[in-house]
Structure formats: C-alpha cells, structure tokens
C-alpha cells in the first residue's frame, strides 16, 4: 500500500514539497535576517527598517513587502484540500479504479486508512513546520510585536486548518464522486468555515476585557500593541449613555470611551482553542468520510 500510494500521489507530493519548501525558505530566511538585524535596531518596532542594506537584507525586504508567505499560509491549506484531498477518493470512483482497488486482498478500511495516513501526515507536518517558522519570524521581532494580525498563519492553527481542508476534500470527494465539483465544494466549505470562525466565533473564546479611557485624545494612542482590539471604541456621555461607535457633530458630549480587547498574553490560549476546534471538526468529517467509503460508497 505504501508504494502504491506513493506511486499514485508522487506528483502531488512533489508540488506540495516545492511549495512548502519555498514558504519555509522565505519565512525562515526573513526571520534569520531580522534576527541578525535586531542587534542594531534602536526600537522594538521598526523591524523592516533594521534590515541590513546588503543583498540578503534587500531580498528579505522584498519578501516582506510582497507578503506572499502570509497569503500562502492561508491559501495553501485550502488548495491542499481541493487538489489533494478532494480527488483522493473521487478520482478513483470517476475512473472506476475503486472497484479494482477494493477487490484486491485488502479491505476498503485498510486501503483508505493507509492512503489517508500517508497523504495527511506529511502535508500536516509541512504545514506545522511553516507555521512554526512564522512563529519564529514573529519572535525575533521582540516582545512588543502583535501576533493577532496574522493569527491564521501560525502554528498550531495552520496544520489544524490543513487537516480540516484535507478532511473536507476527502469527504466531499467520496460523497460527490467527481473531482471537480468536489474541489469547488471543498474550497467553498473551507472558506465559509474559516471566515465564519474568524469573524463570528474567535473573539468569544474567552470573554474580552474592557478598557475605559477618559482622555479622548488618547484613544488608540496608548493602546497595548500586543492586544487584539475588538471593533470600534464605544463613546459614552457623562451620565453613562452610549452615544455610538463614531462621533457625529450633534450627538451629545462624549465623556469617556470603552474599548474591548483580548490581551496579548491570551494569544496562545486562543491558538490552542482554535486549533482544537478545527481538529475536532476535521476528525468528525473524516470519521464521516471513512464511514461513507467503507459502508455506503458503491
């Protein structure tokens, strides 16, 4: 089974390896350049300006400017789900080769589990590596760096998201039985789940803290750089009535502002919670896919 799986998926393996290596290389390289530069950096924040002027520094500067790695870390898990997960079972069914594979000497269960393990584990490992390098990339920028802005690009959320995308792909492929519609369904479902979690669920993992500011000119200025500031600041008048998020000219006299936020030290708790949610979802979907392939698929 190991050789057959490799023979069937070696092209995908090559692509995945090349892309993961490019990502890991660029993120790791920038992290390295930043750590070299950090000694000569006056403040903690100006990371881009501290890069050296030599060729390596310029390359690192270029990678930072285009930010391709940041997009890659969000997009590639989705593509893995669509291009590797979805055809895993669907292509066999499309070509009729599932009837060939399922009538050899191994049961469907074993056939599927070996395939899943051999395809999923290396991809998730690659995702974990790149996600970890992203964490290093932030670490070298000092303790004041804001990690929330690139929440989706860090380990352990990246490998968990990769797991979810692959599981979605396999399940849709098994049920829809055709590669291309299964790929579309996988992409759509993955985007809906991830955007839905990021926009509607994530900020509620732990009840946010509230910060009250009486000096209206200081709103946003004295904000903790490592925190995730949620929504717009709410403006209140002196008697405690909410005036609104944005100050209009005729809307009473604002007296103080309340802003809710998630402090920086909660970041890893949030990563763990979200990774657990994604992994749990992936396991449920995968269990369904295994059930479907072994019991229902024809």
């Amino acid at each position: 089974m190991i050789w057959v799986t490799w023979r069937q998926h070696r092209l995908e393996a090559l692509w995945a390896f090349v892309l993961a290596a490019l990502l890991a290389g660029s993120v790791g390289f920038v992290a390295l350049q930043l750590s070299i530069a950090s000694g000569s950096c006056p403040g903690a924040v100006g990371f881009g300006y501290c890069l050296s002027g030599d060729a390596f520094g310029q390359i690192a500067q270029g990678i930072l400017r285009f930010d391709l790695a940041q997009y890659g870390l969000v997009v590639l898990p989705a593509l893995a789900g669509a291009f590797i997960g979805a055809p895993l079972v669907a292509r066999e069914i499309e070509n009729g080769t599932h009837h060939l594979a399922w009538t050899q000497g191994v049961t469907r269960m074993r056939w599927l589990l070996v395939k899943l393990a051999l395809v999923f584990v290396p991809l998730m490992a690659a995702a974990a590596l790149v996600g970890y390098l992203e964490v290093v990339f932030l670490n070298v920028q000092g303790p004041q760096v804001n990690r929330w802005n690139i929440f989706d690009q860090q380990a352990p959320v990246v490998p968990a998201a990769t797991f979810l995308a692959l599981a979605l792909g396999v399940a849709f492929g098994a049920v829809i039985r055709r590669s291309v519609p299964a790929m579309a369904a996988t992409l759509l479902a993955f985007v809906v789940v991830r955007v839905g979690i990021a926009e509607l669920v994530r900020s509620h993992y732990i009840a946010p803290l509230a910060k009250t500011t009486h000096d209206l000119n200081a709103v946003g200025v004295q904000a903790d750089p490592t925190a995730w500031w949620l929504g717009f600041p709410d403006y209140y008048d002196s008697s405690g009535h909410l005036l609104g998020n944005l100050i209009g000219p005729s809307v009473g006299q604002p007296s103080y502002v309340i802003q809710s936020f998630q402090p920086g030290d909660r970041f890893w708790a949030f990563q763990t919670i979200e990774a657990s949610i994604l992994t749990g979802l992936a396991l449920l979907i995968l269990a369904f896919a295994v059930y479907w392939v072994t019991r229902r698929a024809t």
């Binding site: 089974m1 057959v4 023979r7 009837h99 060939l100 009538t103 050899q104 000497g105 049961t107 024809t298």
Partner: protein, 299 residues
C-alpha cells in the same frame, strides 16, 4: 459441496428502482457460468454483491458459504474480480500495475502474471493508458488471475473489444481457468461471447432469474414446435409454455419439457442457444426457473 455463489431471494434497490428483485442463483463449482441479460437487467448489481462491493437490500448471498459483506477479508484472497470496462490506473506502467497487484494481495504469483503478459507481447514499460483496449483487458485479467482465484467474476469484460480481441480474451480466460479448475461467472449481453466458452447459463431480466442451467440440459429441455394457427387464447394443456407467437397462418410455441405427441401439421424446429436466450428475454413474464430445486440445493 459449498457452492461458489449461492443467492436466495436477493434484492437490491437503488432509489426507487429494484435492480435485483427476488433473485435466486446458484453457481456450480468448476463451471464457466454465463450471466446473460439485457442492459439494466441487474447483471452488474449481482456481480457487485458477490464481490462485496454492494450490500443487498434484502435476501442473502454467500460466496463459498461466507457473506461477502460480513466476511469479505476471508474471501478477498479467493475471489478475483474484473470490473466493467476493465479499469486500471492509466498513469501507471504495466510494471506498476503488477506492483499494485503484488502489494495489495497476500496471495500473488508474480512469475505467473509476468509470463502471461510476456506471452501476449505486452510491453512492461508501456503506460496502461496507451495500451489498446484488448491489451488493457488482458492486463486486468492477468492481475485478477495473479492471486489464483478460486472464483473469478468478470463484468462484461469484452463489451468494448473488437471481435479479434474478444476471441483472444476468451481464449486466454478459458485456458487459465482450465489450468486452475476455478469457477467463473461472466456477464455479457452478447450471447455469442458466451456460447463458445460457457457450460452453464443464467438468464436474467428485470432483476429476476428467468432460467438457469447447464447449456446442454437447457438445449435438451427446450423445444420449438410450429403448426397451424391456434386461437391466441386457446388453452394449451400438457406442455409448459415459455412463449407463443401467432402469425396469420401458423403458431410457434416455445416449450419446456418433453415434446408432446404432435398432431397433424405440427413439426419440431431446431432451437439454437441464442434463440432460446432471446425467447426468454423477449418474454420477461415467462415462467421463471422452478424454485424447489434451488431450495433443495440450499438446505
């Protein structure tokens, strides 16, 4: 002796249609059995049930006395299956396909498979997708034979082949099973494919078995008698009528069982196998195989 395949009251429903409806089949050991019927008769469904690819809606099927659904692992080594259109991994070379067979089967005779393909002049480094239809079918057959199956199921293996490739395939198939003494169940909607190689025939239409038996016995027990025109509603007693056809001047009766005493103007005409099959297929309501024989065999 345990029959290679034994099905009783087998039913399979897809959505609203019954692909198999109360189907009882017993495939005797050591025979090459043909499963013949029009498209959509339930041939593929039956073969898939026997290969453990499907679960029956009702009824029972056993292969060597075991359920292909519950005890598949015990059967996988003993049952070979060649699916419709002989699917293979088209990106694999012939050599890779043999690797596939070797890795996925506990019982696998590499030398035998290699010899088989070499004798057909099939190049091992050729991609499967570039082989001719006949060669593909031969590779699929070789892989199915690689585990020396005691039962070989083939679903319309020659449906898409040209006549020459058909004959080659059938010849190879009969040679191989003659060597091994295995049982074969082969489906086709083309009678000519089966007539030459099969010694047992199962005719299936609309999900039911219409008739099953040794080809010699079938031929001996069915007769076509032709005589002056009868009233279409006339009761014909003393014979088991499969089908009757009346033209303006004469009536043709297809009967099962001994030929009765023929009256004046009646004569018996030859009934070749192909016509016998067509007779059953064109009369789907015709009496089906008497059940008691099956029941006795089952108990």
């Amino acid at each position: 002796m345990i029959a290679p395949i034994e099905a009783t009251g087998l039913r399979k429903r897809f959505g609203r249609t019954w692909a198999l409806d109360d189907c009882s089949i017993r495939v005797p050991a050591g025979k090459i059995a043909g499963l013949v019927g029009p498209n959509g008769a339930g041939k593929t469904t039956f073969l898939h049930l026997a290969a453990g690819l499907l679960r029956p809606t009702a009824g029972e099927i056993t292969v060597f006395g075991r359920s292909p659904q519950q005890q598949l692992l015990l059967l996988l080594d003993r049952v070979g299956f060649v699916a419709q259109d002989t699917p293979l991994y088209s990106g694999f070379s012939v050599e890779d396909m043999l690797g596939f067979g070797r890795e996925l089967n506990r019982r696998w005779d590499q030398t035998d498979v290699e010899e088989r393909l070499r004798s057909l002049d099939i190049p091992f480094d050729q991609r499967v997708g570039q082989l001719s239809g006949g060669q593909r079918a031969q590779v699929a057959l070789a892989i199915a034979l690689g585990k020396h199956p005691e039962l070989l199921l083939l679903d319309e293996p020659v449906a898409r082949l040209d006549p020459l490739a058909r004959r080659d395939f059938m010849r190879r198939l009969t040679e191989a099973v003659a060597e091994e003494g295995s049982t074969v169940l082969l489906s086709s909607h083309v009678m000519a494919d089966l007539e030459r190689v099969c010694d047992y025939l199962i005719i299936i239409a609309a999900g039911r078995v219409q008739v099953a038996g040794e080809i010699d016995a079938l031929l001996a027990s069915h007769h076509l008698i032709v005589g002056p025109r009868l009233n279409a509603n006339a009761r014909i007693s003393g014979v088991e009528l499969v089908k009757a056809e009346h033209t303006e001047r004469q009536s043709s009766l297809w009967i099962r069982g001994p030929v009765p005493e023929l009256g004046a103007g009646w004569r018996e005409e030859p009934l070749p196998l192909e016509e016998l099959v067509i007779t059953y297929l064109s009369a789907p309501r015709a009496v089906t195989m008497p059940r008691p024989q099956l029941q006795a065999a089952a108990s």
